[in-house]
Structures are given as C-alpha cells and as structure tokens.
Symmetry: C2
C-alpha cells in the first residue's frame, strides 16, 4: 500500500515515522518542497537571537535518518501541485523543473501554513522578510549578519512578532512594531495587554497599533520606510508577522471541502471530504473543545498529534482526536503570556452567556523574595457555570500554570469545580491560593 504525504514538517514527518513503526511493510513517500524536514520552527526566533548558534541545530532529525533508519521515501525539493482524487495521484515539479507523479492509496495533505503578506506596494522589496519556514529563518539570520541592521520594523503584533522583537533587541537592534488594528492584544483583557505593553516599552520597543499601513518604500539605497497613514517608520529591515494562512489551495483545487479559516475541513479522524485523503497540521481545521465548533488554530502540538492519528488510521488502528483548546504560550523579554480556550468575544459568538474576571495576584507567597505580579483573566458561562477560557500574564510561572486550565476545559469543568482543585503550594512558586484559584473564586461571584 502506498501512503503518500505532502509536506515534511511536524504533521507530515510524525505521520511518516509512526506509519513506518506501525507497519514497516507500508510504502511511505513524503514530498517536501523545501530541502528541510522536521525542524523546530518555533525555535527560530531564539536561534536568530544568538549569532553563535547554527540555524541547522533546529533540525530535530535529519532527512538521512528518516531515509536510512526508518525506510521512509523522503523526497525533498518536490513541490506537489495537483492532487487527482479520481485517479489517486499526486503530481508536481522537482527542484530541477522536471515533473513527477505518484500514485497513492492513502494521501496526507500536511502542507502547513505560510506567512500572510499584505497585498500592498513594496512588500516584495529586499530586506522585507517573513519567518515561517527554516529557509526564511536562514535568510533573516544571513541578512542580519551581512547587513548593518540597526533598526527593524515588525509589521504585526502576534506571538511571532513579539518573540522576534525580543530577538532583535538581544542583537542590539532597535525595534518598532506597527499594525493596522487598534488593539494591541485583542484576545485578552486590557489590563493583561497593558502589562505586556509595559514590558515592551521597558525594552525600548516602539509600539504603533491602529496605524493603517500604505506601503513599504526605499529610503536611500540601503534603508526602507514603512509608510502608514500618519506615520513613517525607517528601518534597515522589515519583518512581516501579520498572521498566517493555511496552504490549502492544493486541497481546494482537488475539490476537498475547506472549513474554518479556509483550512482543510477534517473530521475527528483527520479525514477530509475525500475518503482516501487526510489533512493534518497547520493546513487543517479542528474542533474546539469549548465551543464544539470548527476552528483554525495552527499549533505545533496538534500538528504532531494529528500526524500520529493519521498514521494510526491509515494503518487500521482507529484514532480520533476530540479537539483542541487553543492552548498557547509565548515569552517576550521577561514576560510570559498564555491562553487557553475562548476569549469573551469568542464565548459570546459561540452562544455562551459569558462573564469574566481579571485578578492580580503574585507569583510567590506572601513575603517571599523575588515575587512578581501575575494577572489572570477567566471567562465562564453564567448559564452552565462552565469555565470557557483563560488568559494569563506574568514574569514567572505562567507558561505551565495555563495547562491546569486547559485540562479543565477538555473535561468541561465548571468554574466551581475548578475552584475546588487541590493545586500545589510552596512559597517559591505560589501564594497558598494559586492565582488561578483566586481568579476562579472571583469569577464564581458572577456566575
């Protein structure tokens, strides 16, 4: 049986490896358009921040290991261009321009996502970069090495932008961040967003939300200008981190149903609308465990997990994924920012009678040295008492705390039940009442 996979990153290679482990006799072919497979994309900002590190150290497992040790037919430099569901083939072009066509019995589309580039003048100029795949990471690192980059402008204020902001500052590069939308971090309460904003400002980052961007222009021979409605920002380089788009065009062209965010619509088994084609990773949608609606939230863990589930299903070991909570964390300078579940707007949109609370607590016990503020926002449903989502910001202990709330969302816990959880306490790590419990107790008063 031929199991063909388009895309050799998290979902694709997870599926390929597991399929081979499940069934060594399976023919597993991976078609990857770049020369890179199985690397830690999320690690790129940290790698870029350190000139002494080799970009290649982000490669988790080299192509040769997959080929020789695992017997996967891993083909890099092959861009899949067309899926023919009727004849069950994938065709496309190799790096040298020649064509290829492979027959499949089961196909996995794991084409990932790409950085969104606004359709505005000047975004094609040299020095305007995006960061999604390893090649783009190498390009940014090379640009910084070979150019005198004193100032970068980041378009967008999402987590990649905020991580890259820290990376630039570590390299001594000045940073301005700009975006069209008015609100800095719209998916969390203003108080939490303000704490992150303060951290950025303390690190001399210029923040310009609510500035409509017109174009990127040349400034002299070497520099660039990001031209906004009422603002011009000079830069030695521009990073466009304005969001991502699913690479679902090949699926759409093959007649597959698209779902949330124009990602490939899949069921719990990761099957698309074609009975022999799966989709997984950043190009596929998922069910949200809170709203039970389809969402597109491309994240690494889901990609890996979905890759495994596809492999199991292809090999006859039925696997179904219940859904995602949209749990995510990022660090910017010394601030940890975490989220899981719905924000207030999403909760209202999903039909919940949403209530929310925001509390400020401390990262360590009363009088314990080194303590810092932790802000917790919790969202609950007045009708059912259910916990719907959480946001958290602080200098320590935020990244892992959010997981307790994520687990609670998976099991549809009420705020009252969560408030009764027996959480860990020791003075270096928490007040007796963990900030999450303080928030839950507070939210209860509104439910």
């Amino acid at each position: 049986m031929n199991f063909v996979i388009i895309g050799g990153d998290a979902a694709g290679m997870s599926a390929a490896s597991r399929a081979k482990r499940n069934k060594p006799e399976l023919n597993v072919t991976v078609l990857e358009k770049t020369m890179d497979v199985s690397y830690s994309a999320c690690g790129m900002p940290y790698n870029i921040a350190d000139p002494a590190r080799d970009m290649e150290d982000l490669v988790v497992r080299g192509a040769e290991v997959f080929r020789k040790k695992q017997g996967i037919d891993l083909l890099t430099g092959r861009t899949a261009r067309r899926v023919d569901p009727k004849n069950k083939t994938v065709s496309g072009t190799c790096v040298d321009g020649s064509g290829f066509e492979y027959p499949y019995d089961k196909l996995l589309i794991a084409t990932g996502a790409r950085a969104m580039i606004p359709n505005l003048p000047g975004f094609e100029r040299p020095g305007v970069m995006v960061l999604k795949n390893l090649e783009e990471g190498r390009r940014i690192k090379a640009h910084i090495r070979t150019h005198e980059v004193k100032k970068a402008v980041i378009i967008g204020m999402g987590y990649i932008g905020l991580e890259m902001c820290e990376a630039f500052r570590e390299l001594g590069i000045d940073v301005d961040m700009v975006k069209s939308r008015e609100t800095f971090l719209p998916w969390m309460d203003q108080k939490l967003a303000d704490a992150v904003e303060s951290e950025l400002k303390a690190n001399q980052v210029g923040l310009y939300p609510g500035r409509r961007i017109h174009s990127i222009e040349a400034e002299g021979k070497k520099k660039l200008q990001v031209v906004c409605e009422d603002l011009v920002l000079s830069a030695d380089m521009v990073l466009v981190a304005a969001g991502v788009l699913p690479n679902s065009e090949i699926a759409a062209a093959a007649g597959l149903k698209l779902g949330a965010g124009n990602a490939v619509s899949v069921d719990e088994t990761l099957l698309s609308s074609d009975p022999d084609i799966y989709a997984a990773g950043d190009c596929a949608d998922a069910v949200h465990v809170v709203s039970e609606k389809k969402v597109w939230i491309p994240l690494a863990l889901r990609a890996n997990r979905a890759g495994w589930a596809v492999a199991d299903n292809v090999c006859g070991k039925a696997a179904a994924l219940k859904g995602i909570a949209g749990t995510a964390v990022f660090k910017t300078f010394n601030m940890e920012v975490a989220r899981t579940g719905l924000d207030v707007h999403e909760a209202l949109d999903a039909g919940f009678d949403a209530a929310e609370t925001v509390i400020e607590s401390r990262s360590r016990a009363h009088a314990h040295p080194g303590s810092s503020a932790i802000l917790v926002q919790l969202i609950g449903d007045k009708a059912s008492g259910r916990l719907l989502g959480a946001r958290m910001v602080g200098k320590e202990g935020v990244a892992h705390r959010i997981n307790a709330l994520a687990v609670a969302l998976h099991v549809k816990m009420t705020v009252e039940e969560f408030s009764q959880s027996d959480l860990a306490y020791a003075p270096p790590f928490s007040p007796v009442w963990d900030p999450m419990l303080t928030a839950a107790n507070q939210l209860l008063k509104q439910l």
Copy 2:
C-alpha cells in the same frame, strides 16, 4: 450566635474572617495558644535562610487587624484544654495561668499539627529544635544568630527537612541528614529520588538513610551528637523534621471520632461526629479524590479552603468539599519536586491494578539553551485506564506542571484522555510534547 474557633492559623483565621464577612452580627471568638496568628508557616525555611529578614514579615495579617477591622474576638495566649459537647463549652488556661470557659453554639477545632518528636533519649537537649510554628521558627533563627552553628544534623528527610537543608547551606552551615527508614524518598520512583539525592550531594549534604537513631548526646559543652546504630554525627544543632502529628487530643477527649492518621474525622461539610463541632486544617482528615478513602495529608491550601467551608456552613450557606488530591511541591536547592495523587503502593493498597511509567524529558525545546532534565512518573489503573497519580522532579517547570495532573485526578480522567490534552508549547518552556504527555503516551502502552 457564638462561633468559637480553637486555633488561629490558616484554617481558624480563614473561618473567622469569612464568618464575619458572611454574617457581621455573628460573635466570632478565636482561642489561640501562641501569640501568633495567620502567618506563612511554609515560608519559615526561606526566612531563616536570610539573616536580614525579620521573622515577623511572615505574618500575613496582624492580630490587631482581625480584632479592630474585622471585629473578631481574637484571644491569643489561650490554650484550650477541654471541650464539653454536652454543655457546649470550651475551657482552658490563659498565659497567666488563669482559667477560661466559653460557651459555643458552633465550634471549630483548628488545632493544626505539631512536629513529631521520637521518644528517644536526648531529644529534649538544648540545641535540638523543631519547626512547625512561628515561635519555633524564631527559636531556630535566634539559635543560629547567637551560637556558632557550623554544622547541623537534620533528622528526617521530608520536605521540611529538605527545605531547611537548603536554608542551612545558604547560611554556610554544613548539613547531614539522617533517618531510620531505608529509602530516601519512598513515595516516588528510585530514578526521581536519585535526581534529588544528586542535587543534595552536589550541595555537600551528607545523606544517611536507613540508620536507626538511638539518642542525642552531648559532645563536650557546646556540641551534640546524633548517635545511630553504626554512625555518630556531630552537630552544633539538631533539627527534628521526622514528620507531624495532628493535634487531635482535645477532640478525642471530647468523644469525637478520629479518622485517618488519628486526625479528627470529618465529612464533606467539615462536620465532626458532633453536630455542632467542625474540624478543619491540619488536625482534620479528608477524602482522597482518587482512592475515595479517608486520608490525612495536612497541607496549607486545604486548611484555608476548609476554614472557608466551615464558615459558610456555620452561616447557613451549605458548602461541601469533594476532597483532596494530595498535591504538593517543594524546592530543595535548584530542584523542584512535585506530587499529586497516589504512588504505586498506595494505588495497590486502594485496590487499583496499578501500572507505572517513568520517563525523562527536557524542560525546554530541542536545541533551546538552558534546558534541563525533567523526570515524570505516572501511575495509572489497568482496569479502568484512570490516571491515579504523578511524581515529577526537575530544575524548572515542575512546580506548576503538576497542577494539570491534579486537575485530571479531580475529574477522574483516564490516561488516554489526559494524553489528548492540548497543553501549551513554546521553546523556552517545554518540548512540543510536554513531558507530561510523553509520560502519558508511554503509560498508555501498559494500560
């Protein structure tokens, strides 16, 4: 209505404050035998470690605040000696030797726990100390300040001993730890215990488990000797941290039923076997959410929570606590050690068909600088697939991770369900597969 509370620490003062908030017209009387109320007992090792800190900074809220701002009749220096359930009175002695007697309508016994002192010769010698209440903390700090303490011996290897071990070393004091029981940390897998042991040894701590202790003798005029079966340890002071006992004698003498660990047996509403007497905090037992059996695991969060629940029940707002997971964390030097739920022996004793796994993962993503080992032990039930308990050791990210597993225990999640949790990932905080998920995936193979 008279609501009388014996004991003015976590459970007692939580109950007193909340009762007054619930019902300002209630007469709330607290009888506290020491002069201290509402302090962070768990913070004492960290305070002792820092000669510049005042012991009093551990007091969360002073007695005067409770008295004047909250209107609580807070009586310190009153040792309750007898409860008469028939006539509904509490009697005892004041610090000046005079007697007192108070009538109650509802009584809360919140007498806490005390350090266990082995009934062996020499434990009464000057320089042999325990650490449970603030007065004992002051005594230790004064002893270190006024004596030339170069070497301490700690009897016991529980979390207070291990926290104090770090405190002594920070003060430049050499430490030996000794106990009769053979196994260093019997409630976790050997690999995890070994990691903690390595951390202690790297900090020049002498560890002597499995040494039966005979006596404490004088060595010359100033020093002490801890005399064991085949070992003599010299010391300038000895800390006895060999476990704690519930202060349940007054309850037993009043005819109340004792439960697990000889603590006062209480139901979900914290009511004892007498319909007008509650017990809460370290002197009361609780239901374990995993085994559903009564246990005695004295911890600060439960004490606070139980105090609140008693106040609500006394004030006619029905409150029931489902139970505890025994979630706890401590730090010793740079090692975080966390637990929740049952260990393998407890699981077998509780009738589960226990299986376990131990995995080693990393605290940060592939190739991310500053990463360190995280060891996770998970215990599951082969019959039901349920998660039963977890143990974790590592230099970062352990203290808060354990809470995700604690929540899972509260809702009786299966290992399979937990393995599907959407946990947070970013390179500074975790591999893509959080160590907890790696452990769950591994344990699943045995279930």
